[in-house]
């Protein structure tokens, strides 16, 4: 217990030190907004084993164009995107190259009419490079996110929510495959605790389609 208390105190002290240290960035955003989680109208009765309505019964890979590049002009984020799955341990695969983002190909693609399309990128690499997704820290509500796709028109989203959570408390809504369409951007966030494997939190940004008509 003493260890836990010590850890808590240390964490708080470190946080305060960060606050007090170096040039202050008062313009950095705190968490904001709330990601949509409710099922879409008419979807409430869907249970496991039930086929999705109408054309949604087709395999996602068939009807969805894969994302190729993601841009957040407001913070200078511009990353190639490649499809990723899960590791043998069941964690989401993250591209080794911190300049490349991963799209969770088992879930919806950006531009999908329903569910959460997930893009992930490294905050920093094992070799000391900052990741392209490190810029997510400075994203604010209302910022535009553009996803360019293979064989389809780009889709544009607007950031509506940001949350910072312990790594093992990722909101399930980030990976939902039904309900309102959103784009979810995930990277790591402090605290950084090498003895616990590195960063112990995730930064999760939620963006909603600017124009629903742009969804296929």
């Amino acid at each position: 217990m003493a260890v836990a208390v010590l850890a808590a105190v240390t964490a708080v002290v470190l946080g305060v030190l960060w606050l007090a240290q170096g040039p202050q960035r008062d313009d950095s955003p705190a968490d904001f907004g709330a990601a949509p989680t409710a099922a879409a109208p008419g979807d409430a009765g869907r249970t496991p084993g039930t086929a999705p309505p109408s054309s949604a019964a087709e395999p996602a890979a068939v009807r969805q164009a894969a994302p190729a590049r993601v841009l957040v002009p407001g913070v200078g984020l511009d990353a190639q995107v490649e499809g990723v799955g899960v590791t043998p341990r069941g964690d989401m695969t993250v591209p080794d190259d911190p300049a490349v983002a991963g799209w969770y190909r088992y879930g919806p693609a950006p531009g999908s009419p329903e569910g959460s399309a997930v893009l992930v990128g490294h905050l920093d690499s094992e070799t000391g490079d900052l990741g392209e997704f490190a810029a997510l820290r400075d994203v604010r509500a209302g910022d535009t996110v553009e996803v360019r796709r293979d064989g389809a028109e780009p889709v544009v989203y607007r950031v509506t929510a940001r949350t910072t959570v312990p790594k093992d408390e990722l909101p399930p809504s980030a990976f939902r495959r039904t309900g309102p369409p959103v784009l979810t951007l995930i990277t790591c966030a402090p605290p950084f605790e090498p003895e616990r494997g590195g960063y112990t939190a995730n930064l999760v940004l939620t963006a909603e389609p600017v124009d629903a008509l742009q969804a296929p």
């Binding site: 217990m1 260890v3 836990a4 808590a8 964490a11 708080v12 470190l14 960060w18 606050l19 240290q21 170096g22 040039p23 202050q24 960035r25 950095s28 955003p29 705190a30 869907r46 249970t47 496991p48 084993g49 039930t50 086929a51 999705p52 019964a57 395999p59 799955g85 899960v86 341990r89 069941g90 964690d91 989401m92 993250v94 969770y104 879930g107 905050l123 920093d124 690499s125 094992e126 490079d129 900052l130 990741g131 997704f133 490190a134 820290r137 400075d138 910072t164 312990p166 790594k167 990722l170 990976f175 495959r177 995930i186 790591c188 402090p190 605290p191 950084f192 590195g198 960063y199 939190a201």
Partner: protein
């Protein structure tokens, strides 16, 4: 084909009712979902297009061999199922008849098929639609063909062995395309295939071996169940800490100012504390 059909298909042998699952919890609160079951129908009798009736009402018409219906929501209860050659019902003699009972919350598939000896029959299977881990899919094989025991191989390696009509076997496997074939049990004599089977992630893929070995029309039919996905366990998207290092002062204060650092650290510490006590 009508969109709603009651559940039970039954065999002409008559009175054997099939219970498709445990009774619903008596304590369950009433809701629209809790008095229904999800039911699919598969037709595995070669050469006969059929109409399906339930409790005297036509459910499916012109139902072709080798086809599988989508899961349909049906009110839980008992259904007298009759299968007629197309256009012969409902006043003629059904080719097959059976009473099937489905309980609240059940998922079931009723198969009209040939027994191992070639006699048409109806079999009800309970469908496992429980969640699978991220990256996985549930592969199920059901033997409903007039054929002896078989092994099912993926990439040449047996994954299900000694499967007999009308049994099934199932496994949760990595999602992806499997090159599958069906061989006579214990041999390399290929009975069906090879065929590519797409095991979809977060879903159930059920493969039926149907038809007749004697008539040389053995084939595969595939059924899909969606909505069984789980989220990944975690997203590890960090490296050596460069983003919060002293050499990256432009980053560290910003993170702190964002307010997330202290809050998250506090949560983590609190949970560790709770963990010690628990």
């Amino acid at each position: 084909m009508r969109s709603r059909f009651p559940v039970a298909l039954a065999a002409s042998t008559g009175a054997c009712a099939l219970a498709l699952g445990a009774a619903a919890p008596a304590m369950a609160a009433p809701s629209a979902e809790q008095d229904t079951a999800m039911v699919s129908v598969v037709h595995g009798i070669p050469g006969m297009t059929v109409d399906v009736y339930a409790n005297g009402d036509e459910l499916l018409s012109g139902f072709e061999p080798g086809t599988v219906t989508e899961p349909q929501s049906l009110k839980a209860g008992s259904y007298d199922i009759q299968i007629f050659e197309a256009g012969q019902g409902p006043d003629g003699k059904p080719a097959l008849e059976k009473t099937v009972e489905v309980g609240e919350g059940d998922a079931a598939t009723v198969a009209a098929h040939l027994g191992a000896d070639g006699t048409p029959q109806l079999t009800a299977f309970a469908d496992d639609v429980s969640k699978v881990d991220a990256g996985k899919g549930r592969l199920t094989v059901r033997h409903i063909a007039a054929a002896p025991a078989v092994d099912v191989r993926a990439g040449g390696q047996p994954v299900f062995t000694g499967l007999t009509n009308p049994d099934e076997d199932s496994a949760v496997v990595d999602a992806g395309t499997v090159d599958a074939d069906v061989v006579l049990a214990g041999t390399d004599t290929v009975a069906i295939g090879p065929a590519e089977v797409n095991v979809a992630e977060g879903a159930g893929t059920v493969v039926y071996a149907w038809g007749s070995a004697e008539d040389k029309n053995l084939a595969l039919a595939t059924q899909k169940f969606s909505g069984m996905d789980s989220m990944p366990k975690a997203v590890h998207a960090g490296g050596d800490g460069a983003a919060v290092s002293a050499n990256s002062s432009a980053w560290a204060p910003g993170w702190a100012a964002a307010g997330g650092v202290v809050a998250v650290a506090g949560v983590l510490a609190a949970r560790r504390f709770a963990g010690k006590r628990g």
